[in-house]
Chain length 127, copies 2
DNA sequence: GTAGACGTTCGAGCGCGCTCTAAGTCAAGG
DNA sequence: CCTTGACTTAGAGCGCGCTCGAACGTCTAC
């Protein structure tokens, strides 16, 4: 029998590893973005491997501007079980498309910036 | 003598062409993001070619997440005259770098999403 | 001359995503 | 014992970027 003691860490450590603040971690839990995390004897939160992986996904989605409401929805689907897999995949696909669109826009604008910058450089040389 | 009557349009038209709301246009002017725009005899704003071009730049900077404070700073430099060109170029370069960083992050995450999506697809097929 | 569409100013309000405060619990160390 | 410090909760507050409302002015058509 394997006792499931998978590297339980404190909220401070989880904060440091995830790059989020302890405040934010509690906030995420409150709003249902994180499944209620386990507690130690003293009632303190203990974060395990899975929690950290989940946080990693969350931060990826956040940095690509997925709205929190959508992330909550995704989290709910995960909690509902495997039969929601198709819907989850659809959400990820939608988001991936959004990310692609974002990238296209960025590339276009980067080009415009390069153009403007070189115009400035030219101006500076022609004086 | 050329009379300077360069296609003066109303705020509603400027809103439509720029994709911003009239409310937002006035707001941008209030906070110094747009140099005070000309007025018709009735006191109504009249937007010209230059204004529209400026708006176009603004929206590009916004969609690439340049903070409004920074854009205001840039606008101030423009108003101060040509001797600020070097500083303006520096700002654009900084922002271009930020955009590149953003793009890199997006690419990385898009890859992760693709991976997760294909895992879901696999799951669905193996049942 | 009056309705209705469009414009003006000033200031308040809002949605998002945190961020922080206050008040309390608990454990370890001096 | 008492302090220190990491944790807990509930709820208030904040910065950003708009967004909207109220009250009023102006132009056009009927």
């Amino acid at each position: 029998m394997s006792t499931r003691t998978t590297t339980q860490i404190t909220i401070a450590q989880a904060a440091e590893r995830s790059g989020l603040s302890a405040h934010t971690l509690r906030y995420y839990e409150r709003i249902g973005l994180i499944h209620p995390v386990g507690r130690g004897e003293n009632g303190h939160r203990r974060y395990g491997r899975d929690d950290l992986e989940w946080l990693e996904l969350l931060t990826k989605l956040r940095t690509t501007d997925m709205p929190i409401r959508q992330m909550v929805q995704y989290a709910e689907l995960v909690r509902e079980g495997p039969h929601t897999a198709a819907r989850r995949r659809a959400m990820l696909e939608d988001h991936r498309d959004a990310v692609h669109a974002q990238m296209t826009a960025l590339e276009e604008i980067a080009a415009v910036l390069d153009h403007k910058i070189s115009m400035y450089t030219e101006m500076e040389n022609n004086t």
